[in-house]
Symmetry: C2
């Protein structure tokens, strides 16, 4: 179960909250990028970036010199993963909405110093973005590992919100002669585009060609 803290207890739209830990894993595991929020020089900064999960720890990484990573190290952060599933078209402007699944994780980002955890986290990050590639391509060198900062964030404090289904209109608006419903937003992988530098005829591995968007819709 996800425990409610002042900032994960849902204020608005409580019916959209999910309190089971599996719902959190489902939202995180289905994603490709997150939005990392940090406070830099006193102001918020929101950066799109990759992430990975091992058990109840979320990992983000970046170049050792990146400003967002430096601001996040040892500091309070918020990581948000959002899937937009549809536009909810209501009978009034006011009740327009979106169908979505989102997770927000709050906590202090710990710099990963342990070499084994560092590599395991990078592997998790790689698998999240491109499953199967870690074993298929050249592994990181010691120099490349040293150039990459990895931050760990506990999933102890998190909230999950999900909205699904048709619009919720005001009772008297259901009689209006307007169409209402959901316009789905669908995300999928397209056909792999070979690097022009690749020798002609290089086969596309099945873990790339056969990849499906995980758990979307």
């Amino acid at each position: 179960m996800l425990s409610a803290t002042p900032r994960t207890a849902l204020g608005r739209s409580k019916e959209r909250g999910r309190r089971d830990r599996q719902a959190l894993y489902d939202v995180l595991d289905a994603g490709l990028i997150c939005h990392l929020g940090v406070v830099a020089s006193g102001a918020p900064m929101v950066v799109p970036t990759g992430y990975g999960r091992i058990g109840d720890t979320l990992y983000v990484h970046g170049s050792t010199g990146a400003r967002s990573l430096r601001a996040a190290a040892g500091a309070e952060v918020c990581v948000t993963v959002t899937h937009l599933d549809g536009i909810v078209l209501a009978r009034s402007v006011f009740h327009h909405s979106v169908n979505y699944r989102s997770a927000m994780v709050y906590g202090t980002a710990r710099v990963v110093d342990d070499p084994d955890e560092h590599v395991a986290a990078l592997r998790a990050l790689s698998e999240q973005l491109a499953p199967g590639q870690w074993d298929a391509v050249r592994p990181p060198t010691r120099k490349e590992l040293a150039a990459t900062t990895v931050l760990a964030l506990s999933l102890a404090e998190a909230s999950v919100k999900v909205r699904q289904g048709p619009p919720s209109d005001d009772e008297e608006d259901y009689a209006l002669p307007v169409w209402a419903g959901v316009l789905p937003v669908e995300t999928a992988f397209g056909a792999p585009e070979p690097d022009p530098a690749l020798p002609p005829g290089t086969p596309v591995p099945e873990h790339i060609a056969g990849r499906k968007m995980a758990l979307y819709q």
Copy 2:
């Protein structure tokens, strides 16, 4: 032109920066949701939400009681819009990346008090998410308008980053016998799903049925 400030000047990957204002409009206008970053009780908070643009002002809105909106009002915020366009599959783990278009806007969020600007902003928000719906459905009542806080953010301080194309591998890795290229990520609207409460045979308006994802690849 977008002027460089300490936080919009790109530190890493300078070649991905775009300094023309049209690039900023293109990224913003193609999006459906943004991630709004605020500082609440001293810690960052990143919330997915809708937005709209009129000229060089970005608008976000929310319930008057929402914690994120209260934290943002009159305070420093960061709004980020990200389009994920593809997974960049390199010949080494280290050079894996993503193709994307993203915009980050920084500034102080101004609460919109002027009634005309308030309605104009809500219309822009509505058009961004669901073009054509404002004129097709019941307009907001005075009570609904009062329940909605709108915040304005100048586009004066913003940065745009774009990555496109195949992987950039280390020279010596191009000889490795592995496939490399881009796995495109494509986002599209699905077939409209009618509200079960709708009278059977209600036609789907063309502005919904014929809608295409704006500027997505």
